[in-house]
Amino acid sequence: MGRITLDKITKSFGDVQVIPPLDLTIEDGEFVVFVGPSGCGKSTLLRLIAGLEDVSSGEIRIDGKNATETPPAKRGLAMVFQSYALYPHMSVRKNIAFPLRMAGMDQKEQDRRIDNAAKVLNLSDYLDRRPGQLSGGQRQRVAIGRAIVREPAAFLFDEPLSNLDAALRVGMRLEISELHNRLETTMIYVTHDQVEAMTMADKIVVLRAGLIEQVGSPLDLYKHPRNLFVAGFIGSPTMNLIAGEPARAYDATTIGVRPEHMALSTESGKWTGKVGVAEHLGSDTFLHIHETGLAETITVRADGEVTLRHGDTVHLTPVEDKIHRFDGEGMRIS
């Protein structure tokens, strides 16, 4: 079981309140991603849940029990750190065994769990090595192994993939998702990368300056961003935000059109502009259009076969029912 409830928790460092009163419930078995730009308080929030920082006020409940004052080790949570935080002077086996040893578990049970975790994570051949002799991906797996063996109520991940190169990151993303499917344990995952959030989460929590901007499923956030911030943060390439006259035509202060919801034509369309840079990815082409009178640059996603070049004139038409409208406060008009 791993149901975590945050009840009006706040956190201040000195006079600076980094987390204003915040409520959030994480259901058992959920994969929740905290996402937001750096400095948004997502890591602090994770550390409050872990118990590595004290909350300034409010209550943290784990499975209904008040855990606000409980020391980190007693909360039944396991954490995977950004730097992996492996003990460099211990072998992989000893690293994974460490929490079990601390808990005073008998040797047989320790070995069973370690061998099990090693098998799941493909670490069986490396158990006697030191962390320094492993690759980045392997270290990451050891850190996860150390978390798994505790059979925690929930896993906490603090930007675990940010030290890996791009190719490995995609692989580890899948592994963690598969792990979640197999273990069905609550996972809380912090990242600044909205792609990780979209691909892994059951539920995304978008944070800015300690405030929750929106909570919802990935598609929910994609389809119905509650405000301009979420609209601009979720989705890649980012949504085109258009203010002024074209927006007023839709009874809004700002409208948003995702690059994939902009139809492209060389003959006619609602808006006109010139191609700046065309990025050919093979599967898709991202066109950066200038001189549209809408915004500095409008990004359009076209299919991979497009042959437009720098300086060509193009016409754009938004897909009407995919237009997002926002009011003067930046909130969604539905």
Binding site: G51, L52, E53, D54, P71
Partner: protein
């Protein structure tokens, strides 16, 4: 990583060190200040009496005090000059590629590990002795009159001995700093047409500025308190020719047993050292954020 719990633990763990150092600083220093206002001689116990600023006026007007101040300044200044200039030159040399770098480095650093009493006595007897010393022999060999170092140039002799011990320190620190100089920066300036000399003055020396300051300040702290080298070579003499402030205070209090005057001298030394210390702390304090 800061919870109430860990903060409390941190305070507990830091306190022994803080309390001990606080005690070490405050109790004896307080006593010194107190003694400095007393007429207090160890040979006449029980006759202590309040003396006001008498000790200070006695100490500060004593001709030996002025001699000691000058000697202290010359000693510190002389050693700094030799070690900093020599250190820069040596660092420049050792930074070049050559065969046996590691061994030469060991040879150069060695004097720093020689205890002051040993270096002073070895230099005094085996090198600077006007009859049996190696320098006397060399002077004879080239037909010159041997120098009687501790009679003719006592302070300079001590400066040379001390500088020998501290040259490695300056060299090592400056060499370390020099090695952290980005090679591409030098190559860029070379591409820009800077010759070896202007490269040194415009690139290398500014890069070393911080290390040089650190060398000067740290050596000053230690050099203000030079004691053993004087004790075993000249005992402050001839006359007061090699008496520095530290040695003068020692002589007043433990040779003449005049605790009052000695303490006043101690307070003066503390004040002088603090002036240097303030600069040093600024330097290191800045570095703490980096």
């Amino acid at each position: 990583m800061a919870t109430q719990h860990s903060r409390a633990a941190a305070r507990l763990m830091i306190s022994p060190a803080v309390i001990l150092l606080l005690g070490w600083m405050l109790i004896p220093l307080g006593m010194t200040i107190y003694f400095s206002f007393l007429r207090y001689n160890l040979l006449m116990p029980g006759t202590e009496a309040w003396a006001g600023f008498e000790n200070y006026s006695y100490f500060l007007t004593d001709p030996a005090f002025f001699a000691a101040i000058w000697n202290t300044l010359f000693l510190v200044g002389g050693v700094l000059l030799i070690t900093v200039v020599g250190g820069i030159l040596l660092a420049l040399l050792l930074d070049q590629p050559f065969w046996g770098q590691g061994i030469v480095r060991l040879l150069v650093i060695a004097p720093f590990f020689v205890m002051p009493t040993v270096s002073a006595l070895v230099w005094k007897n085996m090198f600077m002795n006007p009859v049996n010393g190696l320098f006397a022999f060399l002077a004879d060999a080239i037909g010159m009159q041997p120098v009687d170092f501790f009679a003719e140039i006592p302070l300079l002799s001590i400066i040379l001995i001390v500088a020998w011990g501290w040259l490695p320190f300056a060299t090592l620190i400056l060499l370390t700093a020099m090695q952290s100089l980005d090679g591409e920066q030098l190559e860029a300036s070379e591409m820009d047409g800077a010759g070896a000399v202007s490269r040194f003055f415009h690139i290398v020396l500014p890069h070393l500025a911080r290390a040089i300051t650190v060398v000067i300040l740290i050596q000053t702290i230690f050099l203000l308190s030079i004691f053993a080298e004087i004790l075993v070579t000249t005992n402050g003499g001839p006359g007061t020719a090699t008496t520095n402030l530290t040695f003068l205070v020692y002589a007043e209090s433990l040779l003449r047993f005049d605790v009052g005057t000695g303490s006043a001298g101690g307070v003066v030394a503390v004040i002088l050292a603090n002036i240097v210390a303030i600069f040093l702390m600024r330097m290191i304090g800045k570095n703490l954020d980096a």
